[in-house]
Structures are given as C-alpha cells and as structure tokens.
Symmetry: C2
C-alpha cells in the first residue's frame, strides 16, 4: 500500500477504535452515575454484571493487536501527524500499554480483592475492628506491589500506581512539594493555636431547609458557570461528579439539614469539577484527548471554586444578601463578617473530608507517608493503626479515639487505590498557582467576584485548562498556564495572607 | 474431544456468551431509561453514540461464528440437554438468526431511516403536514419490505416483521381474532350510542394535586405487588417500563394536574409491566430465558392491572375511600358509583392512547389493516391520510379534523415499527383469558379485590406467566395457563357483561 494510503488507513482505524472506547467509557459512566443516585439497592448484583461486561469489552477492544499495530505505526510516523493526532496517539498508547501489561489473571485478582476489600472495610469500619480489614489490606498490598512491578517504574513502586491518576508525577516530585508545605502548615497551625482566637462556627450548625440549600447551591453553581442545560445536580450519599461528554455532566451532593456547609460548599466543589467536564473540547469528545488530564488538575478546578472563590470575602460580598434572605431564621442576627469567619474556621480534626483549607493537606501527607511505607514493607499492615495515630498526634495534635475515625475512615485503600490521595493536595497547590496566573491577566478579578461576575475567570480557565483535555501532560498544562512548575509556595503564601489576617497573626511565616 | 466434554464446552461457551449479551442488553436499557427520564436534552448526541456503540458490540458478539457453532452443536444434541437449556438455545438461535440474516448495510439503512423518519414525523406532526413525512414513509416501507424478504416468511411479509415482537404470530392468526372482535365492537358501540346514556367524565377533569396523584399511584402499585425495593417510579414524557433484571425495574408516568386518569391509570398500567419484569426468574436473569416472552403477553399484564382490576367496581370499593380522602375538593361531592362510571366512560375519539376499553381495539385494527395494505403496496403512502380518515369514519363514526390527530398521531411507523400495533390488542384479549383462567382456580377473587388483597392473583400470574420468562412460546404459555388458544370470545363477553350493565343495554350482543 502506498505510504499515504497506509497512514490514512491506520489513522482511520485508530480514530474509530478510540471513539468506540470513548463511547464505552461514557456508557459505563452512565451506569456508575445511576448506581450512585437512583438505582434501588437490590439492583446491585445486576449492575455489577453489566459493569463487568462493559469493562471486559473495553479491555478486549483495548488490547486488540490491530489497535496496537495502528498505534505503533502512528508512533513511528509521528512527524507526519498533526499535533492533535500525535497527542491522541500518545494518550492512547499510554492507556493501552497499561492494559496490555496487566495479565488477565492479575486484573481478575485485583477486581476480586476490591470487592472483598470493600465489604471487609465496611464491616471493619462499622464495627471499629481493624483486625477484620487487616488480612484484606495485606492481600491488596501484595497485589498492588505485583501491579507496580508489572507496570514498571524507575523510582519508587508507588510511582507506577500514582501515574495512573497523575501522569508523569512521582513520589519524589510529590515529596518535593509536600515537605515545605508540611513544615509551613504545622507552623501555621501552631501560630493559629497561639493566636488566642476561639474557633466558632456554631452558626453553621443550625436548621437550614434542604430545599433552600439546594436552591442556593444551584444559583451559585449557575453563576460560576455550570450549565444546567448540559448537566444535572442530584443527590448521592458520597458526592461526586461525572461526565458522559461535555454536553452531559452530572454533579451530586448530599444535604445535612443541621449543617449548612456540607451541601453548599459540596455543590461549589462538584460544580468546579462539572465546569471542567463541560469545558472539554466538544470536537474531541470521542477522542483520547477529550478526557480531563489528571485527578490533580480536576481537583484544582473543584478547589478553586469551592475555596479560593467560594470561601473568599469578596464572594460573600456578592452572595451574602441572597443567603441571608433565604435563611432569615438561622442567619438573621449574623453579620457577613461573622459568616465569612465561620466558613474559614481552622480547627484540627480527625476526619479528612471535614478538614479546613489549612489542615486538609496534613491529612493527605499522613496518608502519603503511610502508603509509601506499606508498599515498601517498612510498615506492616498490622502496625497501621499505631502508625496512623502517632502521625495524627505529631502533625495535628490529636489522638484518634478509635480506628473507625482513624485509619479506617477512607474507602480508598480497600478499593486498591494507592497513589490516589496526594492528588487532592496537589490539586490544592495547583488551584492557587492557576488563580495567581489568572490574576496577572485580570487584575480586576476580585472586583468582578464582588459583583458575581465570574465570566473572565471562567473564560481563562476554559482557555488555559478545560478545553485542552489531555492534549498536554499535567506538568505541561500547568507550565503553559502559569509559567511555573508545581510549587507549594503560592499555596503557603495564600494561607499566610488569608489566615494571617483572619487570625490576626503578627509574626509572618511567609518565607 | 470426548462427546461429553464437547457438550460441556459448548454449553459453557453458550452460557457465557448469552450471559454477556444479557448484561449488554441491561446496560443498554439503563442508557435508554436515563435518556427518557433524567438526561438533559443536550446530552442526546453523546447518548446516541454510546447506544450505537453498545448495539454494535451486541451485533458483533451475536453474529460471532463461534457462538453460532455452539448453538448449532447444541441444537444437534438437543435431546441431551435439560428442558431449560433446550429452550434457551431455541430462543438464542432465533435471536441470532435474525441478526445474522440482516446484512450490515440493511441494518445501517434502517437505523438511518429511523433517525430521519423520526425527525420528519416530528416536523410533519407539529406542522400538521403529511407531505413532510410521506417520502420518509416511502423509504421506510421499502426497507421494511426488504427486511421482510431477508428474514423470510411463509404467509404475508408482515409476518416476518410481526414475529420480532410476537414470536410465532402471523397476520392470518391476528385476523382470525380481529374479525369477530371488530364486528362485535362496532355493534356494541352502536348499542351504547343508542342507549340514551350521556357520557360524563367531567369529574376527572378537575384540579388534582400532582404529589397526591403520585402518592395514590405508589400506594396502589405497591398493593398490586410492584416492589419499590426492587424498582422505581419516575417521570417521563412518554411513559414506559423497563427492566435491567428482576431486581431493578423502572416504571415511569406523566401527570396532568387537570385530569386524574393520565397518571393513576398510567401507573396501574406500568406497574403491571413492572410486576411482570420483577417476576421473571432471577436464576435465569442472565439467560435468554430471563426475558419477557412477547409484547402481547407483556401488554396482557399491564392491561389486566389497569383495566380488568383497576377499572372494576370491586377495586374501587377498596380504593375509593383512600382516593376521596386524598382529594376532598375534587371528589367530596362525588359518589363511588359516579366515579366508577366516569372511569369507564365509552366515547369514540380520534386518539388511540386516550381510548377506552371498548374503542381501543378499533384503533388497533385500523392500523393493522393499513400497514398490511402499505406493505403489500395496495395502498400508496400518498393515500394514507384519506384511507385513515375513511376507516375512522366507518368504524368510529368520526372525521379526523387533521392528520396530526389522524395518521400522524403515533410515532411507531416513523421508527419502522410495523407489525407492532396489534400486540396491544392481543394483550387485551389475553388479559381476559388469563384472568378467567385464574378465576377458575380462585373463585373468591373479587371478594379479595374488594379488600385490597391481590396476593393470590399475583401469585397465580407469577406461577403461570412471569416466572417462565421465555421458556415457552407465547402460544404455549397461553395454552398452559388457560387451556385455550388465543380467542376474542372472552374479551367480547367481558365487554358485553361490563358495558351491558353500565349502559343498561337490554339486547344481548353476546353471541
């Protein structure tokens, strides 16, 4: 075949197959969304079979040698491809390589261990009995080590697992930003503790009508830029966001009628994820480029809207009149300043998902250190509770009263998700780097926020982050958008300025 | 390979593949349900790709020669199989045979014509302009004729199309029951018209709170036997029921706040479909036997609960106190007898989906005759509106004012659904045959209905219909359950007795 014809043919095969895979991912995501929102509990067994059928088909289509041959040919002829096609082939090759490397036996064992691990974790957590989970953690670790060896790595075995969630990132790179971040945070917490300010966010723990919480959340999500014509907000026990393509993005939340923050900051957070998914390039919807690039970049978007905007004084200048109008009983005697202080209360706690902006990253760093040690074998699973409690004492000054609120609090490890936790904190760091870069282009940002005008910010994020999908690596994306590599400095500066002011801290920890 | 080993191997391959297909059907059904309930309209294009991807995979797995070889081997060794395996192979062979016969080019043309036909029909209907739809109807008919020739038939080409919905049924068989049914119905209508009774169901057209309509519908559906722990009720513009397996069955309805019947009889109807789906044998959930056997049998279940039970005087003895308690404003001055008469008003109308028990089948018979003529070519598409109007004049004494409420009222033909309409009327006939058979076993039925006890009826339907799934053909199922073949007599007797009494008809038309 003439070389141009061959290129055309291989590109055609590549595009058709990767579009099919994208469609199947979308279908699987619909099943997952339904499972967590509307499916009756009894439907779980049918749904597990249906999801497994889709996974099996995806695997089959992915490892198909014909697809591999096309990818190899296109990689060999990369100089003849457009930049988009080249990037699409890179992303597809990476996904396929992982799928091909993992033998079917290992995939089955992992799936099996996941189902058993989840059940054991649920039982262990509800009965506060780590010993129930321990053998499953041992088995999962063994499989995760095997997975890491099979996938390959140059630094730490953890890198092979982490790379699935954060392409190109490594334990060494994470440690480089976590070390200064951890030192700064522990010092900042100490200064806050010594500031004499009493944390008081009791005004958030009053009766708030759920319908009105939802109404407020919807109004703000819309205002931020979440398009309800191309998405939905529903309820879920464990809130999440998912996209079936940029024109159909689903976000979820839960409501606590006696605690305002759960739903409203939850909605801001998921709206941030949703806005990212809606901002993906529709022309790439069925290409490997049409997916969000990494978990940390995703989290940078949710955290930006939830925290950097949603907990800012400027935002509440805009939103306070509406909120206090909706909840006259709960908020009638509260001032905007009191409310803003309440939603920015810093208080070390045992539970990650309830943590504030300052302490949150400490929860992540503890998990990061522990999972490295567990994978290395320097920490035995049996020693996890004691090691966990020791770190909480050292970093947060707290003593977990039990394992249910200690090392059993998160579902991740039961599902074999190692290398995942740090993406939450990396997202926090990136969120400030991105917002600072935007402020250089748009110095009037906070004046706009005060009037509820988020259009320039949204446009900048779309141009610099969302629409690129997986065109660039996370590191390239961050560098293109901000001019910098991943860096903890902007985040610590942000904390210093914000909490220095809120807690009247005299000594600057900004170094 | 030793023969026993070969049998074992082929059975294993057969079961694995048919289970995979069942899982993929389930996944596709989830996508379809979401599309009609919660999907934002903008998501349609993504959803079309996802659904097409699943259809493509189903087709690929279905026509795979290895699956065909297994089926052929098992058919050749049918005497060595259990009755269940033999039936499963029969059903799978039938499904596969249809898939294999249709060439990919024809399937593509049909899919294409369906999408274009639907859009043209929507435009034609909203603009009341048949000429917009006519060329698409011509194209669809041409493809349906080609499909019929490809699939093969012995009697009428219509049989090949109808067989997909009603295995084993034919135009000749349908005509055999439609002829006496039609003659009886036209005569009964004439007698009702001459009875001097004025139809008055205006009490149904009052304001009825939607939430309370839903509450009442849920209560009755539960009482009938729909299990909300294994199913859901949601809203949809075009109500339907669908099952992803017996433990996850979704029914839908729509509400009209100024017309009570839409939602409540709609919920009874869909609950009947849902109860059938929930009653399928869970042990066969992933086998070809685990699906409902035909559209007519399905409709017999929805109609039985909607009409035979739901519009009976005995049922309203049970349900009236609750309904009148929920709607004191609308029903405070209405008696149970007046209400029962209102929900059994016979009034010839132009619209099939609004028709009563007496006239409904006439709408179906008109469509049956027309689609036979269209397929034969004895009626040209251009002549459809005139032929339609002529039949409505002749059978129902009505003159369609326009085509939107005439031959453009139903979506079916635009989607290439020929051979489908009669299953609605066949379901009506079967519903009475089944209920009469049940009454022979359970003479106290109506006393039970009067107290809201549907347990013996439900149990009988489950034992005689639901749990068999596709183990028997529809004709076998009906014969096993009732001792009779399909027969219009019980239905005409039912109408004669019920409406003779309601309309005080002196002359018996019961022959």
């Amino acid at each position: 075949m003439a070389s141009a014809d061959r290129l055309k043919k291989e590109l055609e095969l590549f595009r058709t197959r990767s579009a099919l895979l994208a469609d199947l991912y979308g279908a699987a995501a619909v099943l997952g969304w339904d499972q967590q929102t509307y499916m009756p509990a009894a439907g779980n067994s049918h749904r597990a079979s249906q999801a497994a059928a889709l996974s099996g088909i995806v695997h089959e289509k992915m490892v198909d040698p014909a697809y591999g041959d096309s990818i190899a040919f296109l990689q060999d002829n990369a100089d003849r491809l457009s930049a988009e096609d080249r990037a699409a082939v890179r992303v597809a090759a990476r996904d396929r390589d992982r799928a091909v490397r993992l033998p079917a036996r290992l995939v089955e064992d992992l799936t099996h261990a996941e189902a058993e691990g989840l059940a054991a974790w649920q039982e262990a957590r509800s009965g506060d009995d780590f010993s129930v989970f321990q053998p499953f953690l041992e088995r999962t670790l063994q499989l995760q080590r095997e997975k890491a060896e099979t996938l390959g790595y140059t630094g730490h075995p953890w890198d092979a697992l982490h790379d699935e969630f954060e392409p190109g990132s490594t334990a060494a790179a994470v440690r480089d930003v976590f070390t200064p971040l951890g030192e700064f945070t522990v010092r900042l917490l100490e200064r806050i503790r010594n500031s004499g300010h009493e944390a008081d966010d009791s005004l958030l723990e009053r009766p708030y009508d759920e319908e009105l919480q939802e109404q407020f959340g919807r109004e703000v999500a819309s205002q931020f830029g979440f398009d309800f014509l191309r998405g939905r907000l529903d309820r879920a026990a464990h809130p999440f966001a998912t996209g079936f393509g940029p024109d159909d993005v689903r976000i979820t939340t839960r409501y606590d009628r006696n605690f305002l923050s759960t739903a409203i900051f939850g909605i801001f957070h998921e709206a941030g994820h949703g806005i990212y998914e809606q901002g993906l390039d529709p022309d790439q919807a069925r290409s490997p480029l049409g997916q969000a690039v990494s978990l940390a970049v995703h989290e940078s978007q949710s955290r930006l809207w939830e925290n950097l905007i949603g907990r800012s004084a400027s935002f509440w200048e805009f939103a306070w009149p509406r909120l206090s109008e909706l909840f006259p009983d709960a908020l009638g005697s509260v001032s905007r300043t009191e409310f803003h202080r309440a939603v920015n209360t810093v208080r070390p706690g045992l539970i990650r998902v309830e943590a504030d902006e300052v302490t949150y990253n400490l929860h992540i760093m503890i998990r990061f250190e522990l999972e490295l040690a567990l994978l290395e074998g320097t920490l035995e699973p049996a020693g996890l509770p004691a090691a966990w409690n020791e770190l909480y004492r050292e970093r947060l000054g707290l003593d977990p009263s039990d394992d249910a609120d200690g090392c059993l609090q998160d579902v991740h490890w039961s599902l074999g998700l190692f290398g995942y936790f740090p993406t939450y904190a990396l997202g926090n760091l990136m969120s400030v780097q991105l917002l600072h870069a935007h402020e250089r282009d748009n110095p009037g940002l906070w004046d706009q926020v005060r009037t509820g005008d988020f259009s320039r910010l949204l446009d900048w994020l779309n141009t610099n982050v969302h629409r690129h999908g997986s065109m660039f690596t996370p590191a390239e994306l961050l560098r293109n958008a901000t001019g910098s590599d991943l860096d903890a400095g902007p985040y610590t500066d942000y904390l210093e300025n914000k909490y220095g002011r809120l807690y009247g801290l005299t000594e600057s920890g900004n170094d």
